[in-house]
Subunit: 235 residues, 2 copies
Amino acid sequence: MSKKTNRRQRASSDIPALLFDLDGTLVDTVYEHVLAWSEALQDEGIHYPSWKIHRRVGMGGEIFVKALLREIGTTAIESKVKRLGEIKKKIFMGWISKVQILPGARELLKRLSQLGVPWIIATSGGKDEVAPLLKLLSLPSDAPLVTGDDVKKAKPEPDVFLAAAERLGVAVSDCIIVGDSVWDLLAARRAKGLGVGLLCGGYGRDELDRAGAYRVYKDPAELLGHLEELGIYTD
Amino acid sequence: MSKKTNRRQRASSDIPALLFDLDGTLVDTVYEHVLAWSEALQDEGIHYPSWKIHRRVGMGGEIFVKALLREIGTTAIESKVKRLGEIKKKIFMGWISKVQILPGARELLKRLSQLGVPWIIATSGGKDEVAPLLKLLSLPSDAPLVTGDDVKKAKPEPDVFLAAAERLGVAVSDCIIVGDSVWDLLAARRAKGLGVGLLCGGYGRDELDRAGAYRVYKDPAELLGHLEELGIYTD
């Protein structure tokens, strides 16, 4: 199917497709990511405050590390960037058995499927990190998914959302992009999708508003209770 | 000295006293507190999202647990509240060697002492949790300090700030209360002190503004660079 046909179909069906970020949006992993980065940086002798890490989680790891090293005045040597990412991943994977899903995440995805609303998960994370999180969401390993491994540039570049819309066969301008970080919302704006923010990643409401969120909900459970506000009618 | 005398002295000297929260304000412990609570709750079979814990850290532990149990519809049995607090404390203390201070914390306290500005740390934490954090700040064990052990009611009750002002021998209405959480700012308002917010505990700027912060700075380092805005003149 060509994009043009899809756009017409969407216009006629009037149901948007939903692209979901994963960490902090469907699964409760942001605080683990923060402390995993903090520990990895300490291992390399870098002291960097947790709140600043928090505000950068949701970017691709490599972009995050490069920005951080530049900020503290260290040259971002390729080998150092890679090593930091590997240490962080190892620490995070060690904690993954304790990770919980966010309220309403399973129910929201199930309800969208029942309603025939197309949805897909679009994350900067790698496939191996994502696999245990899909299980947690009771999703099969072939659930609709685009990971950081599938695209060249991670968030806040819009690539992962563009690839996700293409995978669904819909125009990204007909998509609602749901995420917990300002990087999701920046990527949503750059992709020309409609951004919706969730507070469950720990950003303040105002930060998401200012980043261009059309609506802000507490978590997937609250979004599920307000589908009509997104043009999804449940009866 | 009577309070009346002190109040006159303060009015004549025109230098306010500073009351500092500790966790998230001078030391980078908020994210560790969040995950320690999350683990303790999981140990007791309670799944509660991390971002909601984050927004409650800074309250006294007992108030926090009671509010949380009520929210999830569990009766707050005294023994359960106590047990949760003990488990959490054990987990947190296990991580304390990795804790870092926040940028500028040591320098800020040192500068205030040089300028003759009275200051004190006022925290909801217990003495044993606070001791290693004082060391981290290069403070002696007899540094000016009021802990949760010294007062009956923890934050957001104003008791700890009232006790801190009394310890300094100044009226709390002549004090600037510096904290990272809305609970510090609520307690500051109730105590009739002037609240100043810091972003380094991970709240959004707007959340601190709305809670009544007179000024919001990123961290102790930024506050140190703007002492004049608080009526403290450095030359």
